[in-house]
Symmetry: C2
Subunit: 338 residues, 2 copies
């Protein structure tokens, strides 16, 4: 494992993005997304996706030159068409707008259509929480999960983020509707490990902990069985109807590639309407109560979502960001190619 | 089983509520909640809760005379204190306000503190969807579910509703954060049935399908294991901070009775900002695609959440609403008591 200093990392990534054709502003913004996600420990959605992103640009799935258009707005609700541009940049810009609107209206929603994979969903929750507002956002995906009772995948695993700002540490729940994220299945497969609990069905329709069998059958379990199934459908529909965007069904019908998807960003400027210190105190009661739980395994105290992120970031900023050697070599080869 | 005509049912329930001390308007509104929930097939949260509600009134948990106060508002965000009044009425009034605000601002949020159990969560989703807007609402609860990795229950099972209006039938996902709702555990226990999948742990910490063992251990599984755990915490925190209301922790600290809880209602007036017919078409694609799924069991076609509700209501309105004889006798005894 290599440990690359953060600035050197963003520098290199930026160079490659400029080479791929991004303008300077976008290259800097996107390099920070890749590096930042790795720095915060979400290695599955950080630097290791860099070459895949460049591949999507080459295939024409991501349009580097696309400009987001504000299609319409009504009060605190704004609808955008991202015209198949760069997913993480579209997401960051949309959440920034939702936050600004929420500071004016108390709650706001920016819905984005025709956007692309946003890498790590939690990033946009942190963004809202760091701006002092509750952030909610979710994205639909291509069809990658069967509905409850179904064999064929006709739902997306639509990741949702619920982010709550707190002086003692933001709480950021970031969860896809499949029991195991696809990145997790891949990592388990590569390290020849079984999943700790059933993650889906094998090709014979039996529940299994074998990640490869689930990838083959394309039948991962939704979170909460039929409940995850319901949640997934609702998230797809709310986002798509609000944005007039493509549903999972429409993405599936169009191609086997996930692009032109739909996202929604809701911001609740909760501190505007109540005593902000009281609100902070209330948030602390929930977390402190949770942290006081009796753990099943005395060695593993209960944590809240997002609890370790700041610590990991600190470590990785002082020690350098861990990157697999092969990944780094490929990036350097691309960046330095004549 | 008795089948009571809807009008006769609401009439009787109303009489009892007047006897208990509700004014005429509230008695009529609440009678319709009890009867309506049963009429729509949600028997676990309908007429069978009537006597329990009256018991809560007697215990002083529910204050029949309480007037909801608008504590503060900011743009499209309104905060209410229900002063421990009647849960279903507070919820219905709050969603009505959220819907009205969303028609003005595009998105709106009404957060309610110090309210009480709202019976069937889905009702308020139907309310929003019937008014043509997306409805999202959730409630926190007393501590009734351990966090992921914990033994003692320090999270609520915080039911969430996501409701999407659609001309061909609203989609209403209504789900608590426990794999099985507590009403379901109770029904399975009473009918001496095992759960179809693991629903929680027994007192020895083993996963079990025995509903009674789960009730004893107080360790139901969250939906999606650690994901349900994260979702639950986030829902508690967003609602409580926005409403300046009591968290699950605060409800737990105060007593062993669930009251004075917090709810949130978000309405997205999605048809205001886009072509409403287009939006409707998009919603249909998601549902039609889902309905076309290959079912695991050919006898059980895949359904969408809320699909059967209208049909059940129609049947129960024409045939009469099914009520257990014992339940009906107790109600009649109360209503007709001198």
């Amino acid at each position: 494992m290599l440990y690359i200093p953060y600035d050197a990392l963003t520098d290199t990534l930026e160079k490659g993005l400029l080479r791929a054709g991004l303008d300077e502003k976008r290259a800097a913004q996107l390099a920070d997304v890749f590096a930042g996600n790795s720095a915060e420990g979400v290695y599955s959605h950080g630097v290791n996706r860099y070459m895949r992103f460049l591949g999507e640009v080459e295939k024409g799935i991501v349009d580097l030159k696309a400009e987001t258009e504000v299609v319409s707005s009504f009060g605190a609700l704004e609808v955008r068409d991202a015209h198949f541009g760069i997913g993480p940049i579209n997401a960051e810009d949309a959440m920034a707008r939702a936050v600004a609107l929420s500071k004016e209206h108390g709650i706001a929603c920016v819905a984005v259509r025709n956007t692309n994979h946003w890498l790590r969903p939690g990033r946009y929750g942190w963004q809202a929480a760091n701006a002092g507002v509750i952030g909610m956002c979710w994205s639909n995906t291509i069809n990658n999960m069967p509905a409850w009772g179904a064999v064929d995948p006709r739902l997306g695993n639509n990741p949702i983020v619920l982010a709550i700002p707190r002086k003692k540490g933001n709480v950021v729940a970031d969860l896809a509707m499949t029991q195991f994220a696809f990145g997790k299945l891949e990592i388990a497969k590569l390290s020849h490990e079984q999943l700790p609990i059933y993650g889906g069905y094998d090709e014979n329709g039996n529940l299994t902990t074998d990640p490869e069998a689930i990838q083959k059958s394309k039948r991962p379990l939704p979170i909460g069985y039929w409940k995850g199934s319901a949640l997934s459908l609702a998230l797809d529909m709310i986002a798509s109807a609000t944005a007039l965007g493509r549903t999972t069904a429409m993405v599936a019908a169009d191609s086997h590639t996930e692009y032109g998807i739909t996202q929604i960003f809701i911001a609740i400027n909760f501190r505007a309407a109540v005593d902000p210190e009281k609100a902070d105190e209330i948030l602390d009661t929930a977390v402190d109560y949770l942290l006081g739980s009796t753990p099943v395994d005395p060695e593993k105290p209960v944590r809240y979502p997002g609890q370790n992120t700041a610590k990991i970031r600190e470590t990785n900023l002082s020690r350098g960001v861990p990157i697999h050697e092969e990944t780094w070599e490929k990036i350097l080869a691309y960046v330095n190619e004549k």
